[in-house]
Amino acid sequence: MFRSRALSLADRLKRRSERQYLVARAFNRRRALKPVVDRTGRIRKGDILAFVTLRNEKARLPYFLDYYRKLGVNHFLFVNNDSDDGSGAYLSEQPDVSVWWTKSGYKKSRFGMDWINWLLMRHGNGHWCLTVDPDEFFVYPHCDNRPLGALTSWLDSSGRRSFPAMLLDMYPKGQIEEQPYTEGTNPFAIARWFDPANYTISKNAYYGNLWIQGGPRTRAFFTEDPLAGPALNKIPLVKWYWRYAYVSSTHMLLPRSLNLVYDEDGGEQASGCLLHAKFLSLFADKSAEELDRGQHYANSREYKAYHAGLRGRGTDLWCSESREYTGWRQLEDLGLISRGNWA
């Protein structure tokens, strides 16, 4: 508390203007989004909302919607970035989904964050908002017994406005291409392995967030330059206020206090995980396509690295130290998530 106050006034002003810039930018680009189906009128006070950007993810959608409906998400707001595989039509049929369509560049709109920031500002104010990708599945302590509403009401009563969930890359045993994924099935029946303890953490003093790297991607694709590996820290669940803004993907937000989701005095705050079902058979085709489009972070460095890895020896992320996922308790024992004081 004291430390954050002691930080220089200049930095605070700088962050403030940065936040205002992001909010204004999102507002200015609102017309890039064309409403396709707008059912936001059905959102009730206290509903939990999910915000998703997607491009050609039709195969993943049925299970995704199913998973989050069961968890207790009341309404989904999708940005459809020019899909041509029928994702848009599928989403339009869903009763609890609103869809916007856009053709503008993913990269040009800060990797979709301008769109999401606008939708959050317009529809998220006062709601608990979960911002995820179609291949990210939120797990949190007690998620097998308690719905998302129990978590958010507990967060409300403990005065917290944001909840962290680190990205946990899941992968199958054996070559990724060899185990085809069928639409609608649980992706973690195939990609059910993860890396238990190879994560590196450093603190970003300016934004206050932790920067977490590691996992199978760093181990397999970024051995030359681990600093360039993907960031795994995420803060996907936020009680939104219209003046908040995501700065870079969902890795960090402004104002800075929303990023302080960890304890620095030795205690543990509650936290969850986003299980990342990226490494399915769908991934191989996608990585070639995305490489051509060149629309991803750091000049699609990730996809280039995957592609190089792919050609070299096929993609098998599994190693003898991988762990098979059994549930949130296992993640807690390993120290990847924590129940904090949510007994």
């Binding site: 009563s157 403990s158 238990p196 303890a197 051995t223 543990e268 003898s320």
Partner: protein, 566 residues
């Protein structure tokens, strides 16, 4: 079901409701159907619509009275005022009551009300109110125990926290001390109690009540001290334990109860629990348990449940030692345990004995690694590409966060971790390991020089490398000899070690405190014949060797004898 008219105990309930009046109405019905009379106080901040709904839901129950509504703020006297008035209303409407239970709208009766009545009937004179002397409690929030009673608290903590804290500090600086009214000793305890009407009446009708009320109005959290203090003045027998299972976290917020607590709650045999999350439909349908034919007056046994809560509080406040993760990233020296288990560092041994690692692995029950912090690769035992916990053996990845690397390795493995170290390795962790009570250092200084004997580099390079390594080791020794060291450190000079290697090695193995296979053999020692010559050459080139020990001749007879004698 109505309690028999001749029952010795006639129970009344004072219910305080804030929000969620639907649930409160359901709870009120449970109480009334169990045979209790009830007076309800609804926070004046609740909406008129919700209030109308509640009145309608309870319209068919004549046993229910509503008391005058006050706006209630957490930690303020308004809660006591509401309780007093509701209790007065209850006693006025039902003068024949023998006991009054204070409950909230989210207090869920777990056992049949009949059981509670039977339990109270076992000793009808007893007051059930947790009441602990304010000087002795250690569990109140924010360190305010006695000061709750000796300072003024005119502000609301939730809404004016900053000002609240400033005011407390100001009063402390000015040395403020309120006088506590004569005849009472401050006591604290759970807000939820069950008093006999005799005690309750005595408190409400105390001739000095105005004086007490005026005093408590400006104390801190009077709802946890008003009745608790005054019961001590009037009660005959106090059972200082609340009948309501209500646990608070370190910030003073009540724990919520969910469906997965069902079994624990059942086992706790408590009469009433709070606070139930409004979505826990499983709990609401299960409790109160259906009345058995046999009335069961067994006392509550909340210990098991309390242990669970205390465990969680500990995790929130202290965390798991040696864990660094997304929601636990302690500042330096706030770690509550820098690492999770003991580990040992052998420095110089692998230079003296080239096969030391395999030899040691065969003799101790531990994971013996090579140079984990080495510059070429992370030398995990067996040299796999990917080590325990899927930690990469690539040094660039390790050097991104060496502390995270070491703590993760120690936490993810089950056996003790032992590894080699030398001045050639990454030195970033020197302070971290030296200040960690789990670390064990066995150091032979100057041993890094031995591998230089066998290499065929030009002398200029040897001199340059020697200078670098000597500088690194001197810097490390400064750390290991500082007053901040918490690790167990054994330092031997090379000279000293060579004089009696077996004894020192044996002692080091014993210190590991893991099962050791008796070490009859010694590992092969490197040939040290050229060392005196090298040392002389280094000295003559202007570099003073400082770490191998006194004297050039190795081993020096007189010196070893002296050391042994010491």
């Amino acid at each position: 079901m109505i309690a028999p008219a001749n029952a010795p105990v006639r129970l009344g309930v004072v219910m305080l409701c804030h929000s969620d009046l639907d649930m409160a109405a359901r709870m009120a019905r449970i109480w009334v159907e169990g045979g209790a009379r009830i007076a309800i106080h609804v926070d004046a901040k609740a909406t008129p619509k919700a209030m109308r709904g509640m009145r309608a839901a309870l319209a068919d129950l004549p046993q229910v009275v509503f008391s005058r509504r006050h706006p209630c703020d957490w930690g303020r006297f308004s809660l006591v005022r509401a309780t007093q008035e509701a209790a007065e209303a209850l006693l006025a409407a039902h003068p024949d009551l023998t006991h009054v239970y204070l409950a909230s709208g989210s207090c869920l009766p777990l056992r049949p009300i009949r059981d509670l009545i039977a339990y109270l009937a076992e000793d009808p004179q007893r007051d059930h109110i947790e009441s602990v002397n304010a000087l002795d409690v250690g569990w109140t929030v924010g360190g305010l125990n006695e000061e709750r009673f000796t300072l003024f608290y005119p502000l609301d903590w939730r809404r004016r926290r900053w000002l609240f804290d400033r005011l407390v500090n100001l009063q402390r600086r000015l040395g403020f001390r309120r006088r506590i009214p004569k005849g009472i000793t401050p006591h604290l305890g759970s807000q939820w109690w069950c008093l006999t009407t005799a005690t309750l009446r005595a408190i409400l009708e105390d001739p000095r009540r105005t004086e007490f009320d005026r005093y408590f109005r400006l104390t801190w959290i009077p709802d946890e001290s008003y009745f608790q203090t005054l019961a001590r003045r009037h009660a005959i027998r106090i059972e200082s334990q609340s009948l309501t299972l209500a646990k608070f976290d370190h910030e003073g917020k009540p724990y919520q109860l969910y469906d997965d607590h069902m079994l624990l709650l059942e086992e706790s045999r408590c009469f009433v629990a709070r606070k139930v999350w409004k979505g826990s439909t499983g709990l609401m349908t299960r409790f109160p348990l259906a009345a058995e034919p046999q009335v069961d007056p067994a006392p509550p046994q909340p210990q098991h449940f309390e242990r669970l809560i205390n465990r969680t509080v500990r995790r929130r406040l202290l965390g798991r030692p040696g864990l660094y993760m997304q929601s636990r990233f302690p500042r330096k020296d706030c770690e509550n345990g820098k690492t999770s288990a003991p580990y040992a560092i052998f420095q110089g041994f692998s230079d003296i004995f080239p096969e030391f690692e395999t030899w040691l692995a065969a003799h101790v029950e531990a994971d013996v690694h090579g140079h984990l912090l080495g510059p070429e690769m992370v030398e995990f035992a067996g040299r796999p590409q990917v080590g325990p916990g899927a930690i990469s053996s690539i040094p660039q990845i390790r050097d991104r966060d060496p502390q995270g690397f070491l703590t993760a390795l120690i936490r993810v493995t089950n056996r003790m971790q032992v590894f080699q170290f030398s001045p050639r390795d990454n030195q970033k962790l020197n302070w971290f390991m030296a200040t960690d009570p789990n670390a064990q250092f066995h150091v032979v200084t100057g041993a890094w020089m031995l591998p230089l004997l066998d290499c065929d580099m030009p002398f200029d390079d040897i001199r340059r490398i020697s200078a670098q390594l000597q500088r690194a080791e001197l810097k490390q020794l400064e750390v290991l000899n500082s007053v901040w060291v918490k690790a167990r450190v054994q330092i031997h000079e090379l000279n000293d070690f060579m004089a009696r290697p077996q004894a020192i090695l044996g002692a080091a193995l014993q210190q590991l405190q893991v099962p050791v296979h008796p070490a009859a053999d010694m590992p092969r020692m490197r040939n040290t014949a050229g060392l005196p010559a090298l040392l002389r050459q280094l000295r003559n080139s202007g570099l003073r060797p400082r770490l191998t020990g006194e004297g050039l001749e190795l081993p020096e007879q007189s010196l070893t004898e002296r050391t042994a004698a010491e």
